[in-house]
């Protein structure tokens, strides 16, 4: 008896729908069992999860505040992923963007607010883009593995911030507690319609990235490199330049997230500045099929899941670890279902051609 995985050339939409619905139901069922094991009513917990994410104006705001960095980071990642450049380094790019923006915020707080904030935005973009260009250069020049390089550079960035937070940038007014001083008033992003202005930036970026990817020459070239480097070369596309440009944009957009989080949400720089967004956004970018409009929706839903599960912790006294487990189970099924849409399991009995499809 042999097991084989066979790639499915084209899955019908009907089948995809079925697989996806099955995944969601299984996820709800499995988490339901776990919730019952914890001694709660699953239906009540699910309802208050939704209620916690969208139940009031305040909760919707909180969900959106979580969604903003996810959306922007996913956009940045999507540009690189479209080129099949696996940028796992958003975490580091966000961090370095936040670092550059914070440097300006802490040292030039005497500048007028619009000037300072514009400089910080620029600084955030540049900080992130430098962290993006380095692995792009190595990849384009010597063919290094970008997954490893971008991943490792996350830790370099993180350790750099830890060094600053516990060393030269430590707030002397904090009685020894390792924190970087809070930004002055004019280094803080203003609010617009009750939410920090980051959402306007996010919206602007969604439209810009959409246009760039679909209607510009460079956007097209990036997609061609993603499909086949040889085709791109044959078509006369400058591979080196395009890879570096794509990562300049990808890293820069992620760097903006760092600036927005530092200036709009955290009001200072800290080693927790990313909140893991750089990794989470890989999931949302992928689930959003690397398309800006889908990324927006997926990110909001994902933020709702996080916000809702934070709500059920206090509402039901479910421990932080259990709430994370619930999130993880749901994600596991949703992401895992993708596998069954692309492959099927073939069991070969004694080498005979009797095939059996393993359906869930």
């Amino acid at each position: 008896m042999q097991f084989r995985l066979v790639k499915i050339a084209e899955t019908s939409k009907k089948k995809q729908t079925f697989i996806f619905l099955a995944a969601i139901l299984l996820a709800l069922f499995t988490t339901g069992l776990f919730i019952m094991f914890l001694g709660h009513d699953p239906v009540k917990v699910y309802l208050s999860l939704v209620n916690g994410a969208f139940g009031s104006r305040y909760r919707i705001e909180q969900t959106l505040i979580k969604a903003i960095p996810l959306i922007i980071t996913s956009l940045g990642i999507a540009i690189a992923f479209r080129m099949k450049f696996w940028n796992i380094g958003a975490e580091g790019q966000i961090t370095m963007g936040a670092f550059c923006a914070s440097y300006l915020a802490l040292n030039y707080s005497y500048l007028p607010r619009p000037v300072l904030l514009s400089l910080m935005l620029l600084g955030g973009f540049i900080g992130g883009s430098i962290w993006g260009i380095i692995p792009a250069f190595f990849k384009a020049k010597w063919g290094t593995n970008e997954t490893i390089v971008t991943l490792m550079m996350n830790y370099v960035a993180l350790k750099w911030i830890i060094y600053l937070q516990y060393g030269p940038w430590k707030d002397p007014a904090a009685l020894g507690f390792p924190k970087i001083p809070n930004f002055a008033e004019n280094a803080i992003l203003p609010k617009f319609l009750g939410l920090h202005i980051g959402w306007v930036i996010a919206l602007f970026l969604v439209i810009s990235v959409h246009i760039f990817m679909n209607y510009s020459k460079k956007g097209f070239e990036i997609a061609v490199i993603g499909e086949s480097v040889n085709t791109a070369r044959y078509a006369g596309i400058e591979i080196f330049k395009t890879i570096v440009l794509a990562m300049f944009l990808s890293g820069g957009i992620c760097g903006l997230v760092g600036m927005i989080q530092a200036s709009g949400v955290n009001l200072t720089l800290s080693k927790d500045i990313t909140g893991g967004v750089g990794y989470t956004a890989i999931i949302t970018a992928w689930l959003g099929a690397l398309k800006p409009h889908w990324i927006v929706l997926v990110s909001i839903l994902f933020a709702a899941l996080v916000q809702g599960s934070s709500y059920i912790q206090t509402a039901f006294g479910i421990s932080a670890a259990s709430a994370q487990l619930l999130e993880a189970i749901i994600l596991f099924f949703v992401l895992g279902s993708d596998f069954f849409a692309k492959y099927r399991l073939v069991i070969d009995w004694k080498g005979l051609s009797r095939k059996k499809e393993n359906k869930l």
Binding site: Q16, I24, T314, A315, V334
Partner: protein, 366 residues
Amino acid sequence: MKRIFTVLLIILLSLTLVVGCAQKAPTPAPTEQPKEKFKVGFIYVGPIGDAGWTYAHEQGRKMLEKELGVEAIYKESVPESQECEKVIKDMIDQGAKVIFATSYGFQDYVAKVAKEYPNVKFLHCSGSILGANYANYFGSIEEPRYLSGIVAGLKTKKNSIGYVAAYDLTEVIRGINAFTLGVRSVNPKAVVKVKWTNTWFDPAKEKAAAVALLDEGVDVIAQHQDTSGPQVAAEERGVWSVGYNTDMSKMAPKAYMTAPLWNWGMYYVKTVKEIQAGTWKPEAYWGTMKDGFVDLAPLTAVAPPEAKAAVDKVKADMMAGKFNVFAGPIKDQSGKVVVPAGSSVSLPDQLSMKWFVQGVEGKIGK
């Protein structure tokens, strides 16, 4: 391909939303109105199962619920960052009228949110903020720390004691000094070696710091951490330990001797009672051993036999208000007398203490 997935994901989740809202309409009446319990929120820096700091606060929260019948919600493992502000607002959104924030790093966020919500009362543990609707609470943990120092000082054979410490905050420094003064009161030759972990809650790292101290030759481990990691290290090496926050004898039955303890519940009950009655006034609450706010855990069989008498004697003086841990003469690390005989370190000076007493081997950051 992916599009259909996303569409479905959206439809499904919006369906749950619709269902959630549709069902919400009739349900709130019975669930939210019947009793309208007074709601209190607790913000914890670690998990309630940490067997240390957060566990001790959790015992206080349970006592509060039991004695006053209020609903006390909590959130564990809240980072000392902007996330804290969000968690506080979430709790207020859920109806909390009083917030207890139980870690130093929450201070700035508590003060900020307090100004936005004048009708909610905020109590911050171990800080110094004070305003119309926010205040702080802490206590003289240096008293039991001094006593635990006596136990450690009598136990050590190598005259070398290790102290695994969190951050070089004044709170932690004060504790190390009190402990060392206790050690040297019975064993003037002993030294206390300090290792900083820069964590409150990281069992592995805190254990590793204890192991490093043991490698340097100490034979008693004391700690200012929220976990029992250092205790476990002492247990594995077959030496002895002084815990913190709770009775840690379960984690290290052959090493654990005693621990300085907090009685948070007493303060929580008192404060919420006052707030409900409308008599609460913002104050910097400072509980002492005499008040029953801090205490030393009962000595175990591992503790040296002569320790009990030595501890009880000093404790009796503390209870009578006759004993000041920071009474002179006290020398600093260089041997210079900084607190002359006849005087003592005032409470404000204790709260900004940035120097070590003689006998401590360690460095404070700038």
